[in-house]
């Protein structure tokens, strides 16, 4: 009983170490290929459309309703304590721009595009299409991973900016319809209290999330083992690991940005 528990723990440590090593190798190879400037631009553009354009409706809608619920909650709390819906625009904008829009956009994109990447690459792996790339003179990292990595790095920040605006707009609709806050007051609250560094704070974090989601999804895809079951497992673990890492790294990225005064 104890022996099998120790054995199981040892296997877990070995598997984790092996996976970490493989992931490090993938990251190193990705940056290695990128510095050689031989980038598959056509593939990169295709991925930008898949990750960016096709994700825009769902990320915008998520942000829109997040902004609405933030305004609703802020207005209700503010009314409860001050008898007046105060600083609704400020709270909505700060929450969205610095935290919610970057994190929620990354999570939605991880669930949508990250899962699709892991499933696609996983299927390619189990049907030997990745081996076929090798035999046809192409490095899979160069052809599959780098275009997806660059697409995420370009598109996720843009999707987040779109989420910032749609979320703030959603907040305004509720503030105006539910609490009769005039447009000038709502926007004044935002413009007067926010500075460019607050936007930069949230914007910079999106690059960390983009790197994590793209690399984890690609890694899980290209290391898929087994058949359909393996693809399912790879897809699930790509999404779960991406989501957990987004939340964990959000804390550390915030701490680092605060340390540099970008807060």
């Amino acid at each position: 009983m104890i022996g099998s528990a120790v054995g199981g723990f040892g296997k877990f440590i070995l598997d984790t170490a092996e996976e970490t090593g493989q992931f490090t190798f993938l990251v190193r190879s990705t940056f290695g290929w990128m510095t050689s400037y031989r980038i598959e631009w056509r593939q990169t553009l295709i991925q930008m459309v898949k990750v960016g354009v096709e994700s825009l409706p769902v990320t915008a809608m998520t942000a829109f309703f997040t902004g609405m619920v933030l305004a609703l909650q802020t207005g209700a709390s503010s009314k409860h304590f001050f008898n007046e819906p105060l600083f609704v625009g400020t709270v909505v904008a700060f929450s969205l721009v610095m935290e919610l829009a970057p994190v929620m956009t990354a999570i939605v994109v991880a669930g949508r595009a990250g899962a699709a990447i892991a499933a696609e690459l996983g299927t390619m792996k189990v049907t030997e299409q990745i081996d076929a790339l090798y035999t046809l003179g192409t490095d899979p990292i160069r052809y599959l991973v780098i275009p997806r990595f660059i697409a995420f790095m370009c598109v996720l920040p843009l999707l987040t900016v779109a989420s910032d605006f749609t979320g703030i707009w959603g907040g305004y609709l509720v503030a105006h319809a539910k609490y009769q806050i005039p447009a000038t007051v709502y926007w004044h609250d935002i413009v007067n209290n926010m500075e460019i560094r607050h936007f930069v704070h949230g914007f910079l974090k999106t690059f960390v999330f983009a790197a994590v989601v793209s690399l984890v999804s690609c890694f899980k895809g290209v290391t898929t083992r087994g058949g359909a079951e393996g693809v399912g497992k790879a897809t699930t673990s790509a999404v779960v690991i991406s989501m957990v890492l987004i939340l964990v790294l959000d804390y550390f990225a915030t701490a680092v940005l605060n340390a540099f005064g970008i807060t």
Binding site: A132, L136, T138
Partner: protein, 271 residues
């Protein structure tokens, strides 16, 4: 010429190749036969560089695969090979002609304007036409195999490696593929290694046949000699009989598995 000496390859605790010594002469078609899991496909993947042997060496035209370091050297090496995967491994997201010409971009200096014509020519060689714009999902199993074959020959390789080219096909299509392999040998004058379970196809296309068993080469000989081989493993495999040294092991395992199953059932019944 492909020359393999003492090739050993393990995956974790499982040793798949246990010292393969084999030579493939220029212009010949060597067919590798053997039971599932005996290392046939692994050996092919070692030859093309998809797997790296733990020890031993594979030398192709005087170049040791293990010595290939730079991207240019690896590309030059892969340029020599066409590889037909067991299930075709066609890229789902591309059309037939894009699949066929995919490697040309990376392996050759042929201008992209000529790709479409090359794709049609390669399709004609494998007996297909007017399917250039189809997606792999729109093709039958036999057509996929032939398109994969067209892709393997598109860059005009000196060597073609066939990984179970007839698996999963009906007997007529199996014979068609075997004829195709023979035709390609005659027309393109390539050196080939084919891995197969299908003895009829093996006899038809082989210059020599090598029997693998448990990661080792048991016998390499002309097909006519293999037909009358007195090696019990080879004999059993080519005759396709369940009785013999290969099946004996499986029977031992089955007997053990069956007795365990009975014990478990009895335990359940007692409880």
């Amino acid at each position: 010429m492909i020359d393999a000496e003492g090739v050993i390859k393990s995956f974790g605790p499982r040793t798949i190749l246990r010292g393969i010594d084999i030579r493939v002469e220029t212009g010949e078609t060597l067919v590798i036969i053997g039971g599932s899991g005996c290392g046939k496909s692994t050996f092919l993947k070692c030859v093309i560089g998809l797997h790296h042997p733990d020890s031993g060496k594979i030398v192709v035209d005087g170049v040791n695969v293990a010595d290939l370091k730079t991207e240019r050297e690896i590309a030059e090496y892969r340029r020599k090979f066409g590889y037909l995967f067991q299930e075709g491994a066609l890229f789902d997201s591309m059309t037939v002609w894009e699949n066929i010409t995919f490697g040309l971009r990376y392996l050759t200096d042929i201008p992209p304007g000529k790709y479409r014509k090359i794709a049609s020519d390669c399709l004609a060689l494998v007996g297909l036409k007017d399917i250039e714009d189809f997606k792999p999902s729109e093709l039958s199993g036999g057509m996929k195999k032939r398109v994969a074959l067209a892709r393997a020959i598109a860059a005009q390789p000196s060597y073609i490696l066939y990984d179970e080219p007839t698996t999963g096909l009906d007997p007529i299509m199996t014979d068609v593929i075997a004829d195709l392999i023979l035709d390609l040998q005659k027309q393109l004058k390539v050196t080939a290694i084919a891995v197969t379970h299908d003895m009829k196809a093996a006899y038809k296309v082989a210059s020599r046949i090598a029997m693998f068993h448990e990661g080792k080469v048991l016998q390499v000989a002309h097909p006519e000699i293999i037909k009358i081989s007195d090696n019990p493993y080879v004999r059993q495999f080519v005759d396709g009989k369940s009785e013999g040294p290969i099946k004996m092991k499986l029977k031992d395992f089955e007997a053990e598995g069956a007795s365990n199953h009975v014990v478990k059932k009895n335990d359940v019944a007692r409880n």
